[in-house]
């Protein structure tokens, strides 16, 4: 595989993309761990999500954005 006289530009392009993709993956993974840690901390304090069981029944078509809050 010969990348020619402009190999530096090709390698730099792929390196930047790789760095950005790794950054995005780290962002979602770390953010998830943070949210789960927060939920666990709240659960330890005895604060639970009211209506979680009700949410599992699968209400459909709410006309407000409030459902996304809960």
């Amino acid at each position: 595989m010969d990348l020619g006289t402009h190999a530096g530009f090709i390698i730099a392009s792929y390196a930047v993309c790789l760095a950005v993709v790794i950054g995005l993956i780290l962002w979602v993974v770390i953010d998830r761990k943070r949210q789960e840690a927060d939920l666990e901390e709240l659960a330890e304090q005895g604060i639970t999500r009211a209506g979680a069981a009700k949410g599992d029944t699968g209400q459909t078509g709410p006309k407000t954005s409030e459902a996304a809050k809960a």
Binding site: M1, F9, S13, R49, G55, G58, S65, A70
Partner: protein, 255 residues
Amino acid sequence: MAIWDYANPTRFLRLVQIILPWLIGLCVIAFAAGLYMTFFTAPDDYQQGATVKIMYIHVPAAWLAMMCYSIMAISSLGTLVWKHPLADVSAKAAAPIGAAFTFMSLVTGSLWGKPMWGTYWVWDARLTSVLVLFIMYLGLIALWRTMEDPIKAGKAAAILTLVGALNLPIIKFSVEWWNTLHQPASVMRMGGPTIATSMLIPLFVMAIAFTLLFFVLHLMAMRNEILRRRVRAMRLKAAATARPATVTATAQPAE
């Protein structure tokens, strides 16, 4: 299956749990195939030489930058018109991913431009309109961070997103409406692609890989946003429960 079936965040999270491993697997396979073709089977361009390999990441990144904003615009309609509960979650989760793809497109375009055009940057219509798209993404991320209430922030961001969507046709047709250093469309154009099949196939495989990567990251970011809103709702509920007790404990008789 109606989209309203997934208005319930719990049901949506269950769906994500099921399809995410499959999407990740497909994404890894698509990238492996695309990168193999890019570096081992795709020929060099007769003019650009091996520098054409930058195209296999630049073009999919640019497509995804626009697709992501289109998804945000549709989500914004979902927020303002249909009031779908997950619409602003979708839009908010997509913004950083779209910004990242736009950044990739700008940087790889710049790195291709230097050896091919002799310059990293020119203020032509295509490059400038994509830079505007990047700034729009950053502005929307800032707007969401500025407002504490996610529902109010979602509505404000939805309006701004729809206004910014006017930039999408400008980006697409900029190379036809104005004289630009950036070459005109050579894949998605009337009359079919002008690229050789031996280059077109790796490009499509890489585009599929980028698209799968977007959906993987988008679903994961949406899941995080739903969890963040749950944490917020629970903290607000806890604070509301604790407040009357605190007020009673600290109440002083009026003098």
